[in-house]
Symmetry: C2
Subunit: 318 residues, 2 copies
């Protein structure tokens, strides 16, 4: 059970806010956020020091489609800039709702959104093997045209259908949160910080300078770096599944209530967790505990409240 | 002349970054920013404590067009959310360039972008008289359709042409920077803060809660509130004109080198300054000096470096 004084980083899935690309008006997103933030507000109410990160998949997907539809008259921005835009977008909505919820509990606490860059290695092997799908789906002709004209890496991501192709970009491993020091300071001063949205804006270092790159960092792996930066005791990943599963999707599927990082690593090796889905989440939790964290929790939005009380979710411990 | 230790707020025009809606690729914007930031970097180099705000007219214009072009498949976001997006977009580009320029001077200084909400009065008369044009230009039919379907306020903003109509939104007076306290603290700790971009995201207070509204705050008037919040000594507005003019555009047009706030107020009353253009800039400077500021400077990008040395621009003093 979580108690007052603990530093907690909550990582909220982008889908918890907007179900999919092309879905979810502003009003719907605000309703989803209101629901998604109940457990975050509860944590603050019981006296935890909370920082928040979030995904941006559906939101950046929307933006890339909007850019493409009007590329004939408005110059599109690169993916790192689009990432910065979605940090502003989602952070603003989150901070309004969280601050207002706190206010109705008579808690006058500042909630701030920090545009966050995340350092990656320019020699990360991911840059040679782009594999993270992003943006619109294309038919064969459009896909091939963009591959040629824009230098996109294209991958077939659906087995059938008219538009099975998508652009893929590198998903390098996050090294450090550029704004980590500032986020930590704000947290220590009692400010709720929303940061590293969408896995952060990827930057590489070249001759001491930070240069933005077209890539997407996994938001839970980046969240873990943020958890390290702020010295979090607890790392909570909120996703669309109540508990992590062994033999996911098979007949002998089984919930995991608690696992040590040694067990988690063994399960990883045995291939229990889907790459790009549960795998990076479990990896993030292992990393967090190895870096000195007390516990990590993976759970769903519906069970988050119970998970805070230690009554739901999957617990990862040293 | 500006000296070490002074707290300076620089307000950068949105056009200094992107010349107009539909113009300016990412690369061009980065080149413009690199140029626009020389004087800012110089201020930091000589030991001033600097905070930055900026306009977002062309950028939010682009975004509104992109949203409209693909509204049939992607739900458009309201103007306050679009404002938050452009704060992320422009802040990220600015911070990368400023931090890198400082780095090449061997100055390791953090530059951070804060998503900034600005409080306005829900009873501000501006809400009954929307007059700030925003987004795409429309022909008569489209304008009338949007007026009916979306409840837009429409105004004819060009005397002739196929598309002389535009949406207009309220431009309420800023009361306070919601994140002002945090921005001040960061500045005092030596961090360069980029905040209140595009005049800030307008929010009203209702039953103690902050609610975003579809409006646009003048970026210089909001910048002035930010200057107050951080306790700035000097407020510099960088625009597209070297000096403020008396009898602007007339035969007897004359540069103003220096004016007291009493003189400035008289000139305002005499109608020397264009509403929505030089008028709010001069008003912001008057407000700044009245609130205890030492001096305000209005100048162009080209002359900003000289203005720092007291050799160019229009100076407004008590």
């Amino acid at each position: 059970m979580l108690v007052a004084g603990k530093k907690v980083l909550v990582a909220l899935g982008g889908n918890a806010i907007k179900p999919a690309i092309g879905k979810g008006s502003y009003e719907e997103q605000m309703m989803n956020i209101a629901k998604a933030c109940d457990s975050i507000v509860r944590l603050i109410e019981i006296g935890c020091k909370v920082a928040i990160t979030h995904g941006n998949g559906p939101q950046i997907g929307d933006l890339l489609i909007q850019q493409e539809e009007s590329a004939w008259k408005i110059p599109p921005q690169p993916i790192d800039v689009c990432g910065a835009m979605t940090q502003g977008q989602i952070g603003y909505m989150l901070q309004n709702i969280i601050q207002n919820k706190l206010k109705s509990l008579n808690l006058n606490i500042s909630v701030v959104t920090i545009i966050t860059r995340v350092l990656v290695d320019k020699n990360d092997p991911a840059f040679k093997n782009p594999c993270k799908p992003i943006g619109p789906f294309y038919d064969y002709e459009t896909a091939m045209r963009y591959e040629k004209e824009k230098g996109y890496y294209i991958r077939k991501v659906l087995p059938t259908g008219d538009k099975p192709y998508r652009r893929v970009v590198p998903s390098p491993d996050p090294i450090a949160i550029v704004e980590g020091e500032i986020i930590k300071r704000l947290m220590d001063e009692g400010v709720i910080t929303i940061a590293s949205g969408g896995g952060g804006i990827p930057v590489v270092e070249e001759n001491g300078k930070l240069i933005g790159v077209e890539a997407v960092i996994d938001k839970d792996l980046a969240g873990e770096r943020m958890a390290e930066a702020i010295g979090a005791n607890v790392f909570i990943i909120i996703t669309d599944i109540d508990k992590v599963k062994l033999n996911f999707g098979k007949q002998n599927e089984k919930d995991i209530d608690v696992m040590t990082i040694e067990e988690a690593e063994q399960y990883l090796q045995e291939g229990h967790f889907l790459p790009g889905s549960m795998e990076p989440k479990v990896k993030s939790c292992i990393r967090f505990i190895r870096a000195g964290g007390e516990k990590a929790i993976i759970t769903s939005l519906d069970k988050a409240m119970l998970a805070i009380e230690g009554k739901a979710g999957t617990l990862i411990v040293p």
